[in-house]
Amino acid sequence: DAMVIQNPRYQVTQFGKPVTLSCSQTLNHNVMYWYQQKSSQAPKLLFHYYDKDFNNEADTPDNFQSRRPNTSFCFLDIRSPGLGDAAMYLCATSGTGNPPYNEQFFGPGTRLTVL
C-alpha cells in the first residue's frame, strides 16, 4: 500500500545533541510537510517542500532545518534540541492540484524526547 513512513517512531536525545528524523513516501506526491505537535495541541506547520522548493514558516526557529534529497525522502534536522522541542513530529504529503483542496496523508509520527 502507498504510504508515508517515519523513522524512528521514538527518538531520545540529549539536550543540545543534534538529531535527524526521517520521512519517506511511496505516494509520489510533490508536497511534503513537517509538523510539530505538542501534547494536547494542534499540529503546527514548521515548513513544507513543493518539489525542491523549500517554504519555511515565519515562526519556525532556526534550530530546525530540513532536507529533501529526492521526491521520496525528507529529513528534519534539529541542530541543538532543547527541552521545549520535545514533541511529536509529523510528516505529511499531498498531491498538487488546486490548493487548498488537497488531502494530506500523514505518517505515524516520531515522538522526540529530550533529556
Binding site: 508515508v4 517515519q6 508536497v31 510537510y33 494536547s40 495541541q41 494542534a42 499540529p43 506547520l45 513544507h48 513543493y50 517554504n55 514558516e57 511529536m88 509529523l90 505529511a92 499531498s94 490548493p99 487548498p100 483542496y101 488537497n102 488531502e103 494530506q104 496523508f105 500523514f106 505518517g107 505515524p108 509520527g109 515522538r111
Partner: protein, 112 residues
C-alpha cells in the same frame, strides 16, 4: 492570521449516542478537512468540504460546511468505541498556498 476553534474540547458519550463537534474559523474557509487522530499516531483523513452548504457522509460520520463557509460540524450517529480518538479540523490558512492550520482537536471517548 486565521484560527480554527473547536468545541467541545472533550466529549464522553455512551455507546449508541449521537454527537456533534464544531469547528469555527475566524476567516472564510476555502477548504475544510476533518481528520481523526488516535493517541500517539498520525492523522487519518476523514472528509473534505469545499462549497458552502456542502454535506458529506462516510459510514456513520457526516460533516457539513455552512453557507457562509466559516463553520463546519462533524456529526457521529450511533457512536461506537471505534469512534474514540481526537478529531481535528484543518484548513489552508491562505487560499492558494500549502500553509495548513489545524484546530486544537476534540477528544472523544465512547463508553461501552
Amino acid at each position: 492570521s486565521q484560527e480554527l476553534e473547536q468545541s467541545p474540547q472533550s466529549l464522553i458519550v455512551q455507546e449508541g449516542k449521537n454527537l456533534t463537534i464544531n469547528c469555527t474559523s475566524s476567516k472564510t474557509l476555502y477548504g475544510l478537512y476533518w481528520y481523526k487522530q488516535k493517541y500517539g499516531e498520525g492523522l487519518i483523513f476523514l472528509m473534505m468540504l469545499q462549497k458552502g452548504g456542502e454535506e458529506k457522509s462516510h459510514e456513520k460520520i457526516t460533516a457539513k460546511l455552512d453557507e457562509k463557509k466559516q463553520q463546519s460540524s462533524l456529526h457521529i450517529t450511533a457512536s461506537q468505541p471505534s469512534h474514540a480518538g481526537t478529531y481535528l479540523c484543518g484548513a489552508d490558512s491562505t487560499s492558494g498556498t500549502y500553509k495548513y492550520i489545524f484546530g486544537t482537536g476534540t477528544r472523544l471517548k465512547v463508553l461501552a
